[in-house]
Amino acid sequence: MTAALLTPDEIAAIRAQFPILTREINGHPLVYLDSAATAQKPTRVIEAEAAFYRQSNAAVNRGAHTLAGEATELYEDARATVASFLAVDPNEVVFTSHATEAINLVAYALGTASIGFGAGANAAAAPYAIGPGDEIVVTELEHHANLIPWQELAARTGATLRFIPVLDHGGLDLEAAATIIGERTRVLAISHVSNVTGAVTPLEVLVPLARAAGALIVLDACQAAPHLALHPRELDVDIAVFSGHKLYGPTGIGVLYGRAALLNSLPPFLYGGSMITTVTMERAEYLPSPQRFEPGTPRIAQAIGLAEAVRFVTEIGLDRIAATEHALTQRMLDGLARIPGIRVLGVDAPGPHVGLASIVVDDVHAHDAGQVLDEAGIAARVGHHCAQPLHRRFGVTASLRLSLAVHSSADEVDRALEAVASIRPFFGFDERGTA
């Protein structure tokens, strides 16, 4: 971490850009520690979306009037902004409704390739066909969006779904990974950052294994994109997805990055207008990426809002955001370690942790713990965070997650720690804890 930390003044200036942070909850200034579920939006993002509707609204990629041209330009500019953020080409950036749709798109396209449907008239999709004897590999820490589409793909194709287990310390079993990823592996689908432990996945170990096996590498970067510079080519992955709303952008927009040659070989997912060249009553020819995967009227305002969010984080600098959040995460983890009767899930997983901690309070259910925080104006997520298998692995059904954002301050972390420390005493359990 060489980048300079954001100064308290800079954080104050960033906070001033988030109108929701002026709210009071239960008589306390809101402390929003649920950005891993969805991030709050700076005024400029809200305004960018509204400005499109006020001034430039029109359908894109069709019609010849001035507004239609303007809307198309804004939409494609948004794509270029996201492409530049990822250091990839614009035709490698597909806008979807959310990251979940992006993963489903890939899984479904592979399924279509597997039943012998090619990309239009050519057979480019054939190499991506999978079937019995082939293996799809995920990890035990995946959230449901990067698990269930692969379960379904395995079920439809007869392929086998395998997973890299999580060790007791919360990190992945890399020795097992080396034996699981092999010549049968056709797809490796993994998270960049766990949405439960915050641990960064050791891609430098897993990606070369999958490359050697000739597998397609799919990276779910939802929890990484707001916190780390995300460069899929440097990471050497074939597909990377993230959601706009976790990156201070609007809801209803996700991003699918794919290598151009790959995207142009995969069969489409959704079919309809805006994705075709020639249509007869019998058949259709499909456009290359990104139009190939964007049928219908796309999410224009959302894409424009997302591009503004990308500019917002880029202007601050992902390296400075990463350094600042790293220090704040450490403050949070150190503070939690001092509170009796608290267990932080996966805190001992090796490597860096990014922006969040999920805790279990002895004797107190996460729902009840979260209620105590809410009373103090602190918004935190309770439940299984759409990662039931990982919670089962840790022997719990639910946890309470505190997740940071670019606007989080040391004062807010301290307020949260104080509230966490009050949970067990509130329910009449002694402060020593049983841990």
């Binding site: 996460a366 729902h367 009840d368 209620q371 009373e375 439940g383 059904t397 009449g428």
Partner: protein
């Protein structure tokens, strides 16, 4: 009393720590209710008198937050009370009680639970102001309702 203290009245915390009616018997008919949002779970049985006309006891097992578990315990305690007074619930009485409970919990704090009718379970009134927690409190009562409805068909 703060909102939080109203929600977590001592009666609720006590029932969470020392639940009534826990323990199911192998083979008895149960209803399993799950709140997929948070993983709260209740499996509940109604124990009928020999004529099959009145509910003498409520038994259950489960895991989850204090509200969901205390609510099941309070329902069981309420059944114990009615039976102890020599007046166990008929199907209609229990159905009416469940309807009343639901109406109060969904009232966003405008309709308190009647202490005459609900005894200690009236402490759950505070839940109705916390929309996200209503489902937790309803879980055991929905399980009981499910069992009653199965008998009706």
């Amino acid at each position: 009393m703060s909102g939080l203290e109203q929600l977590y009245q001592q009666i609720i915390v006590d029932h969470y720590k020392h639940p009534h009616g826990r323990g199911l018997e192998a083979g008895e008919e149960t209803s399993h209710q799950l709140n997929p949002v948070c993983g709260d779970e209740i499996t509940l049985a109604l124990r009928w008198d020999s004529a099959g006309q009145r509910v003498e006891a409520v038994a259950w097992e489960g895991a989850g937050c204090s509200i969901s578990q205390a609510s099941a315990s309070l329902l069981a305690a309420l059944a114990e009370e009615s039976t102890g007074e020599g007046d166990p619930w008929t199907t209609d009485e229990l159905t009416a009680l469940i309807d009343e409970f639901r109406e109060a919990l969904r009232s966003r704090g405008t309709i308190p639970l009647d202490e005459e009718r609900f005894s200690d379970a009236a402490a759950l009134s505070g839940v109705s102001k916390y929309v996200a927690r209503v489902k937790c409190a309803m879980l055991a009562w929905v399980a009981a309702e499910d069992l009653l409805q199965r008998r009706a068909v």
